[in-house]
Symmetry: C2
Subunit: 140 residues, 2 copies
């Protein structure tokens, strides 16, 4: 009985290790895609929007994934790969905060406010959009 | 001359690959630490603050790193490891947006507003704090 119990814990440990591997792969992939967006220096007029695009795309994918994962009863390792890993790492608060504080320190108060408003409202909107669109697709 | 030129590009490619490896390692580490914070389900009263803590810590480290990296002329691979990788992945916009939209959908408008205000203001404040504190430490 003790041996079975030990075997059980080994099995649980193995699942946890596999989940962490999926998390690490998703996290690395999200970070690399975010860097590729930063490297491409996307602009909207005078406003740098690489981080904004990363935040919009990652939030939309997370919203869509929540619906797909729930409807199709996906295994938890896909949550680790896509939700905690990829979407969590593709989107970022620190680079957005660095951009915004740099704008404030350079007295570009208007740009900083626009950057903050766009990032917050469009990230929340993308979660709603991802959820709503994929709910409609799956139910149709 | 053509051979030297090819060798030069191989060297440049090798640097880019090493930078991407540092980025992937930092990204994976940030994602795992963020998950550990989410798993610990930190609460402040009725407000879940795991993501907030990740955003504050990651923004502070990024602010501090900008000063250290600039003063000590650190190699670019540390920027990939710490700034693009670790801080970018530890902090997140998508999980913050998911939490906030869930609060809004459950008609917890007040909690959603507090969550948004705390995440944005404390992330920007942490960049300032990291920069200011480490400027003072290095100059003293």
């Amino acid at each position: 009985m003790l041996i079975m119990s030990t075997e059980h814990w080994k099995y649980v440990d193995m699942i946890k290790i596999i989940e962490l591997i999926f998390l690490a792969i998703g996290g690395a992939a999200g970070a690399i895609l975010r860097f590729k967006l930063i490297e491409s220096e996307l602009m909207f007029g005078f406003l740098p929007i690489s981080i904004l695009v990363a935040n919009i795309v990652g939030s939309f994918v997370l919203g869509a994934f929540m619906i797909i994962s729930n409807q199709w009863h996906l295994d938890s390792r896909y949550t680790f790969l896509v939700a905690f890993g990829f979407c969590g790492s593709l989107t970022t608060m620190s680079a957005f905060a660095l951009d915004s504080t740099t704008m404030l320190q350079q007295s570009h108060i208007g740009f900083a406010m626009i950057n903050i408003l766009l990032n917050v409202s469009l990230s929340l909107g993308s979660i709603f959009a991802g959820k709503t669109i994929f709910s409609m697709i799956i139910e149709s």
